[in-house]
Amino acid sequence: MGEFLLVTIQIDMHDQMALKLQDDLSNAIVKNASRGVLIDISSLEMVDSFIGRMVADISSMGKLLGAETILVGMQPAVAITLVELGLSLPGVATALNVERGMALLRRKIDADGADDVLR
């Protein structure tokens, strides 16, 4: 039984750091057998297309590794920028803040858990 991982992305993340984060995160998910990942971007005040793609990639990777991935705390300006950039992050679950994100995560994982029991 794994735990949840909380990743906080802060402002001014350089390209190199972003790639390292992806690396560290995928390793951590596997090592801890994490069931869920919360990516907190409430400190991000603006994004460019690189960060936008990076966030999308991290979310997809989490899913591929079997962890429910939820993006939380997106600021209005960031949401608008992503939409204008055409990065709608389809298939990525989102929540307003960490609290809601946790609740959502639990609901989703419980739903999966029910399937397991029925088998």
Partner: protein, 281 residues
């Protein structure tokens, strides 16, 4: 080589020119039937003659974009702005300048005496200059009017996109009028900000007041829906009229799974259910 003839004539006969000009102005459309007081008009006339005297003394040609003409340009821009506010039309504003020609030409003629060539030169110079100044006044007038229009447009944009709280966690955005990209921008900013402030989970976009939904409008709506989703809120579109439904189907617009309802009441009922509330009658 600057030709100071016009300037000298203005210096010598300035008072007579101004008096004659004032008489013409009083009888014409430039005085505007009381929209501007005689005293204000006199003061503007005197100021203009002074500025013209100085500018024409040193300026080489009638290229009014030269720095010697800056004071007179700014003076005319000020006059245009106040005329806009006083309700004058652009031609009434410009004729203020053009009507100086008559007394000025009379003075130039008196000064030239029998020298027809010199007179012709001076008249041409004067007319060229006053025409340029008159046109500059019209340009400034147009710009002032455009500023008023732009300001009113901005105010209309802000007034017409209120975000209202329907219930705990449920916001509504009644949209009235066409949805263009500028409007969408304002809508998105307001709505997303309100979502953060109230922690809302559901936003209902009511489009009863949107006259047509074509592919462009649909794109704008979808942008708003997507931005909301990125922030963890859900969106319901309500107020879909029969006409709109037909247009959307005929155009093949893909609403990408957004829940839509025909009216706000149904949307509210659904939103309440989704936020864990129930209605009892």
């Amino acid at each position: 080589m600057a030709d100071a003839t016009m300037s000298n004539v203005l210096k010598k006969s300035g008072k007579e020119i101004q008096a004659s000009w004032a008489r013409d102005l009083a009888g014409s459309q430039s005085s505007g039937n009381g929209r501007i007081s005689a005293a204000e008009l006199d003061q503007q006339a005197a100021e203009f003659i002074n500025l013209l005297t100085v500018a024409s003394e040193h300026a080489k040609a009638s290229d009014i974009s030269a720095p010697e003409f800056k004071p007179i340009r700014e003076f005319l821009e000020g006059i245009s702005r106040s005329r806009v506010q006083q309700g004058f039309s652009s031609d009434e504003t410009a004729s203020f300048i053009f009507s100086l020609k008559k007394p000025l030409f009379a003075a130039l003629r008196a000064d030239a005496g029998k020298d027809a060539d010199a007179l012709a030169d001076q008249l041409w110079r004067a007319t060229e200059l006053l025409d340029a100044l008159g046109l500059h006044t019209v340009k400034a007038y147009q710009r002032s009017r455009e500023e008023v229009i732009n300001r009113q447009q901005r105010e209309m944009l802000e007034l017409s996109t209120p975000v209202v709280k329907l219930w705990d966690g449920i916001l509504a955005l009644p949209m009235i009028g066409t949805l263009d990209s500028a409007r969408t921008q304002v809508v998105m900013e307001n709505l997303l900000q309100k979502v953060v402030e109230t922690g809302a989970q559901i936003a209902i976009l009511d489009i009863t007041g949107v006259p047509t939904v074509d592919t462009l409008v649909a794109q704008h709506l979808l942008k708003t829906v997507t931005a909301l989703r990125l922030m963890g809120a859900e969106c319901i579109i309500s107020g879909v009229r029969p006409q709109i439904a037909q247009t959307i189907v005929h155009l093949g617009v893909d609403l990408q799974g957004v829940t839509t309802k025909a009216n706000l009441a149904d949307a509210l009922a659904l939103a309440l259910k989704r936020t864990g509330n129930s209605l009892r009658q």
